[in-house]
């Protein structure tokens, strides 16, 4: 059951990710990215990360992607126009990226030969209770710093996007 669920949702994630890269229209890319995020949320649940799966759906697939779709609609972005790219990039780009993927997969295989197989329900440390306990004891200072960071980001977005009053 674990293997079937993993394979189904990993396939959905990879197909949607390819669609993000290949589609020429930004709206199609954005909707494919929502598919990637939703299937990743299922994989997080399989890995025992309940809170993070919830936050993935609410924050990523909900808030951030709505922001993206909102900006795409606001700017009325159409399909991407073809423009010339350099010969070196078109000849070397795909092989280099495949080499990069191969290296990362090789090291992932090589460094974890004796890792336990992942079983649903074997790790129960990802509940909101455990996350909250870690967040408000061990990681209290980073949590507060990050809250200041997001306040600064909100102010920066307002300052950047406002109309000039002159």
């Amino acid at each position: 059951m674990d293997v079937i669920l993993f394979l189904v949702f990993a396939t959905i994630a990879v197909v949607c990710a390819i669609s993000v890269v290949v589609q020429t229209h930004p709206i199609a890319s954005a909707l494919s990215l929502v598919g990637v995020m939703a299937s990743l949320a299922v994989l997080y649940l399989l890995l025992g990360a309940e809170f993070i799966a919830m936050a993935q759906v609410v924050v990523y697939a909900g808030a951030i992607m709505v922001l993206f779709v909102f900006v795409i609609m606001l700017l009325n972005a159409g399909a991407e126009s073809k423009s010339g790219r350099s010969l070196v990039a078109s000849w070397l780009g795909i092989p280099l990226i495949i080499v990069f993927l191969g290296l990362m997969s090789f090291f992932a295989q090589r460094w974890l030969p004796f890792a336990d197989p992942v079983r649903f329900g074997a790790f129960k440390g990802g509940s909101p209770r455990d996350i909250g306990r870690a967040l408000f004891t061990q990681y209290l200072l980073p949590f507060e710093v990050v809250s200041v960071l997001i306040l600064i980001a909100i102010l920066g977005a307002i300052v950047l996007a406002r109309k000039e009053l002159d």
């Binding site: 990879v14 990743l40 808030a63 972005a77 990226i97 974890l112 992942v118 870690a134």
Partner: protein, 102 residues
């Protein structure tokens, strides 16, 4: 019944990260570039969660949480910058946004 090897999750993460890099390098639309960055962040989150499962610790979940917060901040500021660029240049193609002053 045997479970899924942990390396499958890491390889899936590598595949998603590589697709994000490919999108970032090959696309011209600045919004699509931004979505490729989000794809890379998601791929790294998946490997954080996988390692957190392997080590049976909650720390990876906390890092993922912080990555999500920083991604939200980045999306807010980045999309505001995109709005400003579009207002000044009337284009979303990164090849045409190549002068610092005009």
């Amino acid at each position: 019944m045997s479970g899924v090897p942990l390396s499958w999750y890491l390889i899936l993460s590598a595949v998603l990260f590589t697709l994000g890099v490919a999108g970032f390098l090959f696309r011209k639309n600045i919004i699509t570039l931004f979505m490729s960055i989000e794809l890379m962040l998601n791929a790294v989150n998946l490997s954080f969660i996988a390692f957190s499962y392997q080590l049976k610790q909650v720390n990876g979940h906390i890092f993922t949480f912080f990555v999500m917060v920083v991604a939200a901040a980045e999306a807010a500021v980045g999309l505001a910058i995109i709005l400003t660029v579009f207002k000044n240049r009337a284009t979303l193609n990164v090849d045409e946004v190549d002068s610092m002053k005009y």
